[in-house]
């Protein structure tokens, strides 16, 4: 069984293997600080908002209709603070094109607002967004806000996007708006090829304190 840092520190201190100088933090506090440092997360890279954010999207986790064309897409993740705590009170706004690369500016197709669950998790179902002439890569837009934290706009990209030619590390620059390799996420195909498959992607969000 793996021993936690704090337990290890406390055992070491008890056995005299670790000396805490007089006047310094107690072992428990050192252990806590160590744990906190280990929990810390790097903020999600920023990516520009545009185009075509629309306010007041519907609250839903299901962005696709039953007969919508395109590869079904399931995105899930957790919203954290940089301290590594889950942010249940965050709000995620998501928007993307349909599989033909069309944004719905008149209505709210492929647009949603959602709140994380009790564990900070969020999930939505959609279709793989299409390419369109003004942008190179397939992407899903995110605007994530949480009380006491800086709002972030970012974009989720897909490692399977043909524009990366199978090598996002080498070819991410084909889309000049991609600010970080971290935003290009692996895609796992799940389901039964005979009946229903879905492209599953994990994308955690980490917000900085305001």
């Amino acid at each position: 069984m793996e021993m936690k840092r704090r337990e290890l520190l406390e055992k070491c201190a008890a056995l005299g293997a670790l000396t805490i100088a007089s006047g310094a933090m107690p072992v428990a506090a050192v252990a806590r600080a160590w744990d906190d440092a280990e929990k810390r997360k790097t903020p999600t890279p920023w990516c520009e908002l545009g185009p075509f954010y629309k306010r007041d999207a519907p609250h839903t986790m299901m962005l696709r209709g039953a007969n919508d064309p395109g590869m079904p897409l399931a995105v899930a993740g957790t919203v954290y603070s940089v301290a590594g705590n889950i942010l249940q009170d965050a709000t995620l706004e998501i928007w993307q094109t349909d599989n033909a690369g069309h944004y719905d500016n008149e209505g709210y197709l492929y647009r949603a607002i959602m709140k994380p669950d009790g564990k900070g998790g969020y999930a939505f179902e959609s279709v793989m967004p299409g390419h369109y002439p003004a942008r190179v890569g397939q992407h899903v837009h995110y605007l994530v806000t949480a009380p006491g934290h800086k709002p972030i706009t970012t974009q989720l990209y897909f490692a399977t996007d043909p524009v990366f030619q199978g090598d996002p590390d080498k070819n991410m620059k084909v889309d000049p708006l991609i600010t970080s390799r971290e935003l290009i996420r692996p895609v796992v195909i799940k389901g039964d090829p005979g009946t229903h498959i879905v492209a599953a992607v994990n994308f955690d969000i980490v917000l900085e304190k305001a």
Binding site: W46, L49, P51, R55, Y103, N105, P133, A134, L143, T145
Partner: protein, 323 residues
């Protein structure tokens, strides 16, 4: 009137073509010039004496004197150019870069200023009417007002909920400054104090791309992704009218000098290679007319209250005035 290359960058190399028959009576040739390079995007200065051409081949930016064709300034694209503007008197030129740097140069020659504003791409630069201040929007940051006297220094930060105010306009008397952008909120500021006077959160649900005041200051006009031209009362910040006409994303709004007509450019968001539609709204009758076309419209600008269009073939550029 737009001061960013945002859509040009996003859309890459689209060409503009008129979609209706040109009328000789309505389009009067006013100038022609040979450009230093082939260019599908130019910016005419507010004085009508100079223009900046973004070169297709190497993406450098060249400022030329329209009368003589003489090159006054050249900016290489070793760092990608993302925004530019002329000062109102045409004496200064500002360039914004992809890496968040801004450069201001005097077109008569001499030392300019260059400094880093942000880690993000400069999306919009606009000189204010006071002759010594400039608005800068770096994507994702608050809007910034910089005083250019001596060494550039920041004098105000203009808030947005997120994303930054990318569409801006100054009233003709220079007293009001309006912002809008990705957060869909229109804000109006007093340029004397930079205090926000009005905030309108209900006029649009989609992001806005451009705005302009009528010269008499009676109306603030704004347009963006929802394809309606918003008419705002600057005294209250309230919407007075919403004009729906041609479909498409509104990419440019320019009030004409008669305080009645507004030139609006509509772009097809689904197919940016389609010709954009140039239309003229009459604020009194609330009617719209599609502009007569040109072979290849590569730029337009309000010059002394008149709407100028530029059209290029190769390196030959012609400028027409719409009457």
């Amino acid at each position: 009137m737009k001061r960013s290359l945002g859509l040009v960058i996003a859309l890459c190399c689209r060409t503009f073509s008129g979609n209706a028959t040109a009328s000789a009576a309505e389009l009067k040739p006013v100038a022609s010039v040979t450009l230093p390079c082939e260019s599908t995007y130019q910016m005419i200065s507010p004085t009508g004496k100079t223009l900046a051409a973004l070169c297709d081949a190497d993406r450098s930016l060249r400022v030329v004197d329209i009368a003589s064709g003489k090159e006054l300034f050249a900016q290489a694209s070793d760092i990608r150019i993302s925004a530019s503007d002329f000062s109102r008197d045409g004496k200064w030129f500002a360039v914004g870069f992809w890496d968040g740097t801004v450069k201001i140069v005097p077109l008569a020659g001499g030392a300019g200023q260059q400094w880093k504003v942000s880690e993000h791409r400069i999306h919009t630069i606009e000189f204010l009417r006071d002759g010594h201040s400039v608005f800068i929007d770096a994507l994702g940051d608050s809007g910034q007002i910089w005083d250019l006297r001596d060494t550039a220094k920041p004098v105000a930060m203009l808030h947005s909920d997120f994303s930054g105010p990318s569409a801006v306009a100054t009233s003709a008397d220079g007293k009001l400054f309006a912002t809008a952008g990705g957060d869909t909120v229109i804000r109006i500021y007093d340029t004397g104090t930079w205090k926000m006077l009005h905030e309108n959160r209900s006029a649009s649900k989609l992001e806005m791309f451009d705005m302009d005041f009528t010269p008499d200051g009676k109306y603030l006009l704004a347009g963006g992704a929802d394809d309606h031209l918003l008419v705002i009362d600057p005294a209250t910040g309230e919407e007075t009218r919403k004009l729906g006409g041609p479909s498409g994303v509104i990419d440019d709004v320019s009030a004409l000098g008669d305080n009645t007509h507004v030139a609006v450019e509509y772009v097809d968001a689904d197919d940016v290679n389609k010709p954009s539609v140039h239309a003229i709204w009459n604020l009194n009758t609330q009617k719209v007319e599609i502009m007569p076309g040109l072979e290849e419209v590569t730029s337009h600008r309000m010059v002394n209250g008149k709407l100028w269009f530029a059209s290029t073939k190769g390196t030959a550029l012609q400028i027409f005035e719409y009457n």
